[in-house]
Point group: C2
Chain length 249, copies 2
C-alpha cells in the first residue's frame, strides 16, 4: 500500500493547491515517485498549475469509461497527475458508493509510486472529511488571518472527532515574517491541545512571495519557474520535513 | 418579496466574503436596509469580518430551536447579519427539505429589509447551485489568475445550464491595474457569449489593496476601518452600480 497524504484547509484560497503541486515537485527532485491526485473533483486546478492538458479525468473513472491508470498525465520529473474535472456539481459531493469506487481505485493502483498526494477541496463537507480520513496523514493549511485560523481549527476539530488516524500536520502560508508564522502555528497548537487534546505537528511555513502568483500565470510550479525564490526554498524545506518525518518509508 | 443577491465564485479565497460585507455596508450608507446572510453555512466568516459575536446561528434555525428573526445580529448602520455556524459538515450540503426550510424562512421574513445579500460558499456543489438559483441576481467574483478564471466560467456555465433567472454579474477582485481587470472581464464575457450565449454584466473591479487584510485583522469592514482607501472607493462604486442597476427598487 502506497502512503497517502491529504492537503486540506477549511478556508478557501489559502494556498492548498500550490502547496500540493510544489511539494510533489520538491519530493520528485529527491527521487520520490509521487502521484498527485486532484481531489477537488468538481473544480480542477492542478492541471492549470502544472501547465498540462489532460484529455480524460476522474469523471471518466467514476463513470466506468476509464481506469485511473488510463487518465494519468506526466508532470515534472517524478510527478504524475490524476486530473479532476471542471464544473461538475455531481462530483462535489459523491455518494458513498462512488466515493468508495474512487478510494478503492487509488488504493489498488497498477503502477509504481512511493506517495499519493491528494489536494482536497476547501470546506468541511462530508466529501472533504471522508477523503481526509482515508489518507494516512493530513496537512492542514492556514494563513495568519482570523477567518482562515478559525476555519482551520474547525476542520481539525471535525476530523479529530470523526476518528482521524494520526494527529494532523500544519503549514502556515502567506506569512509576512517567520515570527508571524510561528505565532499562528503556536495559537492553533494551543487551542487544539486545550480543547481537543490533540498535538498538531507543525511542519513549517511558506512566506508571502510574489513569485507564486507569477508562476501561476506562467502555468508552471514555482519550484521550476523560480527555483531560487523564497517560496521554492520553503517548499523544499517542507518536503524535507515531510519525507524524513511522518511520510518516511 | 425582498430582492435577493447571491455572491458566488467557484474558486476559493477570491474575496467573496469581503465583497459581501463591504457591499452591504456601502448600501447601508445609502439608506438601504440590508440583510446579510452568511450562506457559507458550515464555515461562518461574516461574523469575523464584522467583529460581531452571535450567540445563535442558522444551525439553530434548521433544527427548529430559533426563527431567523431570533438569530439576527446588528451590524454597522443599515446592516443586519444572519450568522452561519463554524465546523458543521452536515450544513455544507443540506438535503432538499432543509434547504427548502432555509429559503422559505428567508423568503417570509417578519422584518423590514430592502435587500437580502447572501454570501455563498466557494465551489460548484448542489448547495451552491440551488442557493444561487433561489436568488434574483447572482454576482460571480473572480481574480485575473487562470484557476479563478476557469472556476468562474465553470460556475457561470453550470448556473446557466440549470436555468438561472437572469444573466450573472461579474466583479474582478485583486486587480493590479484597471486594464488587467477589464481584460479579465472581457475574456469572461467573450467565452460566456460564444459558448453559452449569455451576456455577463460586468459591475466593475476591486484593486489589490493592503487595507483589506489590515481590516480583516481588525475584524472591521474596510469601508469603516479605511474609508478613504482604494478598496473602499471601489466598493462604493460597485454599490452604486448595483443599486441603480439590476437591484434598483
Ligand atoms: N505564499 C504565497 N505568496 C503569495 N501568493 C500566494 C501564496 N500562496 C498562494 N498564493 C496565491 O493565492 C492564490 C490561491 O492559492 P491556491 O489556489 O493554491 O489556494 P487553494 O487553497 O488551493 O484555493 P481553493 O480554495 O480554490 O482550492 C494563488 O493563485 C496564488 O496567487
Ligand atoms: N482586493 C483585495 N486586496 C488585497 N487582499 C484582498 C482583497 N480581497 C480579498 N483579500 C484578501 O483575501 C482573503 C480572502 O478573502 P475572502 O475571505 O473575502 O475570500 P472568499 O472568497 O470569501 O473565501 P472563501 O472561499 O473561504 O469563502 C482576505 O482574507 C483578504 O486578506
Ligand atoms: Mg485549490
Ligand atoms: Mg468567504
Amino acid at each position: 500500500r502506497v502512503p497517502m497524504l491529504a492537503v486540506a484547509s477549511g478556508k478557501g484560497g489559502v494556498g492548498k493547491s500550490n502547496l500540493a503541486v510544489n511539494l510533489a515537485v520538491a519530493l520528485g527532485h529527491k527521487g520520490v515517485r509521487v502521484l498527485l491526485v486532484d481531489a477537488d473533483l468538481a473544480q480542477a486546478n492542478l492541471d492549470l498549475l502544472l501547465g498540462v492538458h489532460p484529455r480524460f479525468d476522474l469523471q471518466h473513472v467514476l463513470s466506468g469509461q476509464k481506469t485511473v491508470e488510463e487518465i494519468i498525465v506526466e508532470g515534472p520529473p517524478g510527478v504524475k497527475l490524476v486530473p479532476a474535472c471542471s464544473g461538475a456539481p455531481e462530483l462535489a459531493e459523491l455518494d458513498d458508493y462512488r466515493r468508495e469506487v474512487l478510494l478503492r481505485a487509488l488504493g489498488h493502483l497498477d503502477m509504481a509510486a512511493d506517495l499519493i498526494l491528494m489536494d482536497v477541496a476547501s470546506g468541511v463537507s462530508h466529501q472533504v472529511i471522508s477523503l481526509c480520513r482515508a489518507a494516512d496523514r493530513v496537512v492542514v493549511v492556514t494563513t495568519p488571518e482570523t477567518p482562515a485560523f478559525c476555519d482551520a481549527y474547525a476542520l481539525i476539530k471535525v476530523l479529530w472527532q470523526r476518528g482521524l488516524q494520526a494527529a494532523p500536520h500544519l503549514v502556515v502560508n502567506f506569512a509576512d515574517t517567520p515570527e508571524e508564522a510561528e505565532e499562528t502555528a503556536h495559537r492553533i497548537r494551543l487551542v487544539a491541545r486545550r480543547f481537543l487534546k490533540v498535538d498538531v505537528d507543525v511542519w513549517g511555513h511558506v512566506p508571502f512571495d510574489h513569485s507564486i502568483p507569477r508562476a501561476v500565470r506562467l502555468q508552471e510550479p514555482v519550484m521550476t519557474a523560480f527555483p531560487t525564490s523564497p517560496a521554492a526554498a520553503a517548499y523544499r524545506a517542507l518536503a524535507e520535513r515531510a519525507w524524513t518525518g511522518p511520510l518516511s518509508p
